[in-house]
């Protein structure tokens, strides 16, 4: 395994102390990652040197800003194996998913993107609210029916009813690439095969995959993917919507305004070419530039190294937790098809109280339903405690968490 310890010093926040004067052990990268100085200063430098409205000015700053913005797009596109024209800057994965759902809803009834009563939209029980509610609402607005894959007791997608769930009525299959609660990675092949067989379009929520392992849209055989910059060392306020060029060309845009037009009169407007068509208004330029710096950073570390590193930590965590009585791992215990997110519960202690105890010892985790409330209900849980990794974590962080979990039981006087 490659040693990634040299990188931690690039993240200023990781040298601060937190509650109780403890050094910060940040195990909440599944919610948002920390940022290296390289990303922070890329954003700052844009403002200090090149800031201007892109694609609009005749002046040098506007040229420089446009070049910075478009080369950020190239860089992010290359990172996921995509073409620049297909790579749309949004504010977040949440916006990206809603954008696609609204674009479907905006389509003429004659278009192949139009959704109507009798159509079906497929999701899963492990979706994040961001990849569930937009589809619930689209179904509600159009009269389409929402269907879903269930989750097995081990925390995997239950594909046993695949041919029932994806059927001739299916128009959209919207599925997560990796569960933000269970850590399980979706086996895409059978799902995409079933969707292709019935002509359904495939939307992949890549929020928990793109930041952690190599994702190449050419290999995925899906139609749209979305992810957020802030979970991949990048700034807040920027996300990506990728879609196949042919589809994006045919689809209605989502936000209307400046820069996304070809021509405008008082009563009519026509749309610009990709990618501008999907980017209305003065864009989040500095954040796009920051995201590009994050991509540079990830490339420097190497996605393969990053993934191996996280898998090693995950294995250490799963092994350690398995050995503590009264602790239940929520999600697959096997490392196969599993990412660096480990949810668990402690008998007799509510996750929120677990989190509070850990926080007192400098360990930042997430507790609760993780924006996957239907999954919690399904698993009969009020919530979990979740530790999630990124490149700056190390074996010591895992040991600290494991030690503290044992102490939690003592502190709350749990009988084991």
């Amino acid at each position: 395994m490659v040693d990634l310890s040299q990188y931690k010093k690039d993240f200023p926040i990781l040298s601060r102390t937190v509650r109780g004067g403890n050094p910060l052990v940040y195990l909440d990268s599944g919610a948002t990652s920390q940022k290296p100085e390289q990303v922070i200063s890329a954003e700052g430098d844009f403002y200090r040197k090149h800031n201007a409205a892109v694609h609009r000015g005749a002046h040098l700053l506007a040229e420089e800003a446009s070049a910075a913005y478009e080369s950020a797009r190239e860089n992010v596109a290359t990172f996921i194996g995509a073409k620049a024209a297909e790579t749309i800057f949004t504010k977040s994965a949440t916006e990206s998913i809603n954008a696609i759902a609204y674009s479907f809803g905006n389509s003429d009834s004659s278009s192949k993107f139009s959704i109507k009563a009798g159509d079906e939209i497929v999701v899963s029980e492990m979706e994040h609210h961001a990849n569930l509610i937009p589809w619930q609402q689209l179904a509600k607005r159009t009269g389409a029916k929402l269907r879903w894959f269930e989750v097995t007791p081990e925390g995997r997608l239950d594909l046993s009813k695949l041919s029932d769930v994806i059927n001739a009525k299916t128009k959209i299959v919207a599925i997560t690439h990796q569960s933000n609660v269970l850590g399980s990675i979706t086996p895409l092949k059978p799902i995409t095969a079933a969707a292709r067989a019935v002509g359904a379009l495939i939307v992949l929520d890549a929020c928990q995959s793109v930041p952690h392992f190599k994702v190449d849209v050419k290999e995925l055989d899906v139609d749209f993917i979305m992810f957020s910059g802030h979970k991949m060392l990048g700034p807040t306020g920027v996300g990506i919507l990728w879609g196949r060029e042919t589809l994006l060309n045919e689809m209605s845009p989502f936000l209307f305004g400046g820069s996304m037009i070809d021509s405008v009169t008082m009563t009519e407007a026509t749309w610009a070419q990709l990618p501008q068509k999907f980017e209305a208004g003065v864009p989040n330029m500095a954040q796009a530039v920051g995201l590009s710096a994050a991509v540079d950073y990830l490339n420097k570390v190497g996605m393969k190294n990053l993934h191996e590193h996280e898998i090693a930590l995950t294995k250490q965590m799963l092994d350690g937790l398995s050995q503590i009585q009264g602790v239940n791992i929520i999600g697959p215990v096997e490392i196969k098809d599993r990412g660096g997110v480990v949810s668990f519960t402690i008998d007799g202690v509510h996750p929120h109280d677990v989190g509070q105890y850990l926080d007192q010892h400098g360990i930042a985790v997430r507790t609760g339903h993780h924006c996957a409330w239907p999954l919690m209900r399904k698993l009969n849980l009020v919530g979990t405690t979740r530790a999630s990794f990124h490149l700056y974590n190390n074996a010591d962080d895992v040991i600290k968490l494991l030690d503290s979990v044992s102490e939690v039981q003592a502190y709350f006087k749990v009988k084991i």
Binding site: R19, G20, H350, P351, H352, D353, Q356, Y357, Q360, T367, G368, H369, W373, M376, V382, G383, Y411, F412, K413
Partner: protein, 144 residues
Amino acid sequence: MELDSLYQAVILDHYRKPHHKGLQSGFDIQVKHNNPSCGDEVTLNLSISDGVIKAISWDGVGCSISMASASMMSDLLLDQSYEDANQILAEFVELMQSKGQSQGNEALLDDAVAFAGVSKFPARIKCALLGWMAYKDASSQLMA
């Protein structure tokens, strides 16, 4: 440890053995409140007659703070007049907003002054208030 000011023994006792937990039939009103950011839920049954809180029971899932708070609230408010209950509620809310500066009025809050420590943990204030907000909602609907 700072944490001990949050998890006072009396709080953990109420968490383990909550009072008035389990919904009683024969109520005037039932309300359900939740805390969407963490998923905690409280359902509250309340009866008020002649301006006096005649019955209060609740059920729910949640952390030690939310459950213990609902438990102590029920103890405190049962058999109080609506006015006195409102005074107790106001005192508790004020204590929660005190950022660790107040000890709480023991004459009004009794054991619930143990929640003074919660006010230093902003993320937990909503936990401590969950049951109380359910009561506030239910009682103001009844007295409207």
